[in-house]
């Protein structure tokens, strides 16, 4: 097993101390013996001159290619902290990349949502605790649940707005590119809508939880929010997208305002209202699924 190559005896430190061109070339080519390689590598660790001499033996195109890919990856980056966390949890990176472009998932949007909620919830709390009196004449001050009317109006509408921002072409400047691309339009829409829904539900539910009112209010708002969003999406397969979003909004706002005006705002927490929402949700989901091809064609005119 003896390696009888000449270098095995151990080279002695020479006057100059650097490996010559031939030695570097044989190291780069992989033809140098093990002990020589170790010597060279130990030397390289401390010698910048020999390191750059060695670089000349590597294919320049290969180095250039790796450099350009490196710089692109550095430029693209890893995304926001949320994205890194979600990626670590196992969500596929390409889906996260598509979601990152959704307006209703961006910090500015979410901050606005929280701002609106703060205003509405603040007003509800203020009325409840008697700090201010409820505004319009004709509404009986102190009627149970009256103070919650603005919140009930606004909460699900905020969720709907988030979902609308996920599918309305006006919120996706690159929609023409997406339309001409093979990635499934429906899958994209669904991913965005579900994420926007979740992102909007969290602050709404939290605000509902913190509000002085029936304890089950957050849960009671869940079904209407889901139903509204599903309805808007399903309507978008029939109507133009903007009309679909507006219709869905009106279908919530009008009854809520009417109920508030007739002093029965908390109907929503009752059994029959919740069932109606569930029915709308299921019907919309079915329509959406059956007509999902509409999202594959270039459906913006």
């Amino acid at each position: 097993m003896t390696n009888s190559s000449p270098g095995a005896a151990g080279p002695v430190a020479g006057a100059d101390g650097h490996p010559g061109e031939d030695l570097l070339a044989s190291y780069a080519a992989g033809t140098a013996g093990t002990v020589t390689v170790w010597s060279v590598e130990a030397h390289l660790t401390g010698c910048a001159r020999c390191r750059s001499a060695l670089s000349a033996h590597v294919d320049a195109e290969r180095l250039a290619h790796n450099r350009s890919v490196l710089l692109v990856r550095a430029a693209i980056g890893d995304g926001s902290r949320v994205r890194r966390v979600l990626r670590r949890c196992g969500l596929p990176d390409h889906v996260l990349g598509l979601l990152a472009a959704t307006p209703s998932l961006r910090r500015s949007w979410l901050l606005s949502v929280m701002g609106v909620l703060a205003v509405v919830a603040g007003e509800a709390a203020a009325v409840r605790y008697g700090w201010i009196t409820a505004g319009s004449p004709g509404i009986i001050h102190g009627y149970p649940g009256q103070n919650l009317a603005p919140f009930l109006l606004v909460g699900p509408l905020l969720v709907l707005a988030g979902v609308a921002a996920a599918f309305l072409p006006m919120f996706d400047p690159a929609c023409r590119l997406a339309a001409a691309a093979p990635f499934s339009g429906f899958a994209l829409l669904l991913a965005r809508s579900v994420s926007a829904l979740t992102a909007a539900l969290v602050p709404v539910a939290a605000a509902a939880f913190l509000l002085p009112g029936p304890g089950w209010l957050p849960v009671a708002l869940l079904l209407p929010s889901l139903a509204l969003s599903a309805f808007a999406l399903a309507a978008a397969t029939v109507l133009p997208p903007r009309a679909a979003a507006v219709t869905a909004g009106a279908l919530w706002a009008v009854p809520v305002l009417l109920l508030a005006a007739t002093h029965v705002p908390l109907v929503i927490v009752q059994w029959h209202a919740q069932s109606a929402c569930a029915a709308v949700l299921i019907a919309s989901a079915v329509v959406l699924f059956l007509r999902r091809d509409r999202f594959e064609l270039g459906w913006m005119r």
């Binding site: 097993m1 003896t2 390696n3 190559s5 000449p6 270098g7 095995a8 005896a9 151990g10 080279p11 002695v12 430190a13 020479g14 006057a15 100059d16 101390g17 650097h18 490996p19 010559g20 031939d22 030695l23 044989s26 190291y27 780069a28 992989g30 033809t31 140098a32 013996g33 093990t34 002990v35 020589t36 390689v37 170790w38 010597s39 060279v40 590598e41 130990a42 030397h43 390289l44 660790t45 401390g46 910048a48 001159r49 390191r51 750059s52 060695l54 670089s55 000349a56 033996h57 590597v58 290969r62 180095l63 290619h65 790796n66 450099r67 490196l70 710089l71 990856r73 550095a74 890893d78």
Partner: protein, 200 residues
């Protein structure tokens, strides 16, 4: 070696990278990617895997330049990242994991005696002892001692089980001690000692 006048040294470049200077990253790449590629190729012969490792290394440098505390050579810092990225790249690679066969069985390329002298590392007795090890044992020593890998990492690199790495390291140490002692004692005890090595 002193850098050329007007050029920043590696530590300065690394500090600039930590501040987000992309040109500094490019300069660092231009200086170090060449030797890193060669050195990694020596451990893993698949060029795609090595390319990925090199890219990942400098990406890691880009992200973690702040972790470099200024002690120690920048080249060693880069190598430490590089060899671990190579291990990751090998793990990710689904194809067969193989590396360069040890070339000890082949005659060494003819290099002038002068060059051998000029490499400048005192190997002497240790060098001869190392050269007398079998390729597998040498690989284990290289991975754990020279490259500073853990046994688990070395196992990925060498394509064997972790236990195999540990036993090879042990046998290598035994063989080295024997070889060094025998060098002191003299060549006539060589035949007697060889049995202790056994087959790898």
């Amino acid at each position: 070696m002193r850098p050329e006048a007007g050029e920043r040294d590696d530590a300065a470049l690394l500090r600039a990278v930590a501040r987000g200077d992309e040109d500094a990253l490019t300069a660092l790449y231009d200086r170090h990617a060449g030797w890193l590629t060669v050195r990694l190729t020596r451990r893993c012969a698949m060029p795609d895997v090595v390319d990925h490792a090199v890219q990942d290394t400098f990406l890691a440098v880009w992200r973690e330049a702040g972790a470099y505390r200024g002690g120690g050579d920048v080249a060693a810092f880069i190598w430490g990242i590089g060899v671990r990225r190579l291990i990751d790249a090998i793990r990710r690679d689904n194809g067969s994991r193989w590396r360069l066969p040890w070339r000890a069985a082949e005659p060494e390329a003819v290099v002038s005696a002068e060059d051998q002298v000029l490499v400048g590392i005192e190997h002497g007795r240790l060098g001869q002892a190392l050269a007398e090890l079998s390729p597998e044992l040498r690989g284990a020593i290289e991975a754990t001692v020279l490259d500073g890998l853990t046994c688990a990492e070395a196992a990925v690199l060498l394509g064997v089980a972790e236990g195999t790495v540990k036993s090879r390291c042990h046998r290598a140490r035994v063989a080295l001690r024997a070889a060094l002692a025998e060098q002191q004692a003299g060549p006539d005890t060589k035949a007697h000692r060889r049995e202790a090595w056994g087959t790898s």
